[in-house]
Amino acid sequence: MPRSITPFLWLLFSAGGTVAALLFPIHILLTGLAVPLGWVNAPSYESVLGLVRNPVARLYLFVFVSLPLFHWAHRFRYTLYDGLQVKHLTALIVVFCYGTALAGTVMAAYLLWTIP
């Protein structure tokens, strides 16, 4: 088996896809529809802050943000390769896609770590 990191990127891609498919609809329903449309009362800033101070909630949010970014990166890479037929720009595309996902992951980690 070649020592390429494709299997690793695919694992991130499929884990991210699973997270996005299972959890995004719940969050979209809660924060995108239920609260703005007044189906449920918006929680106070303090109670949400209290929730994300919990280490388990932080870990959840980290996974929730990071893995789907890698899902996007992998999918978008191949969309550019095959959709736009720009495979000759491989290095640039790889750095842009996975770099963006990595940057988002680092930013999420930093923000979640520094919650007061």
């Binding site: 088996m1 070649p2 390429s4 299997p7 499929s14």
Partner: protein, 247 residues
């Protein structure tokens, strides 16, 4: 009921023309006719030089795959009545070299199929006297779906990746490899892993899913490939983390 239907058929006679051309034929319409019947009508009564492959007329042999109105289909299972009022466009399968008219050269597929070793591999063959290899219904169900493949190559014609990367081993070959990997009697999975986890194996697939959509036997090659990607990724992790002996 309309009396006739028009077929627009791709013709390519390499001794006459350098590019494929289009021929138009009027064929009597019958409710129980499929596109293959119409092609046979053309060959029998209108133009005996039209070439196409077919054999069983019942969706088993996998010979009569062509593009009907732009989609890869078995022409023996594509009713004229589904394409009314016409005209019906009939073309050879995409991404294969055309030998003549609607006949494609399938040697690339045959070579790839053989490469994945689609047969039962045993370390030790049991002597006949010990009887057959028994299998439970659950063990049969594990691979039965993949064993329905008839090598019609519609999935290759539907796969945009195969169109872009001709080295891609392709949907049917991977589904058939998985058919034997999942068979409780088989011990050849490590040999197939070598071939399937190469760059031209499973990792070329970007999960477009068209192969599964066009499969006339509901094999779900896309599912087989994703399933095998997980197997490949787990083996990759093991090869990274475990010492050589424990893999």
């Amino acid at each position: 009921m309309q009396p006739a239907v028009t077929l627009r058929v791709t013709r390519y006679r390499p001794e006459q023309e350098s590019e494929p051309t289009l021929a138009t034929y009027e064929v009597p319409y019958r409710k129980d006719w499929v596109v293959l019947d119409a092609l046979n009508y053309i060959k029998d009564t209108l133009d005996g030089s039209l070439s196409f492959r077919w054999s069983c007329r019942m969706g088993v042999c996998g010979s009569c795959g062509m593009k009907v109105n732009g989609s890869p289909k078995l022409t023996c299972a594509s009713f004229l009545s589904d394409s009314l009022p016409g005209p019906i466009r009939v073309e050879p399968l995409d991404y294969f070299p055309v030998v003549r008219d609607l006949v494609v050269d399938m040697s690339d597929f045959m070579r790839k199929l053989k490469k994945v070793k689609p047969w039962i591999i045993r370390h030790d063959e049991r002597p006949l006297a010990e009887g057959e290899y028994l299998q439970t219904p659950d063990q049969l169900d594990a691979y039965k779906q993949f064993s329905m493949c008839i090598n019609c190559m519609l999935c290759y014609s539907a796969c945009p990746i195969y169109g872009l990367e001709p080295s891609f081993i392709g949907p049917a070959a991977i589904a058939l490899a998985q058919r034997y990997n999942m068979d409780s009697r088989d011990e050849g999975a490590p040999e197939r892993l070598e071939i399937l986890s190469e760059h031209d194996g499973i990792w070329q697939c970007t999960f477009v899913g068209e192969c599964t959509k066009v499969c006339p036997k509901h094999v779900d090659p896309a599912g087989a490939i994703q399933q095998y990607k997980l197997t490949g990724a787990i083996h990759w992790l093991k090869s990274l983390l475990l010492p050589r002996g424990a893999r």
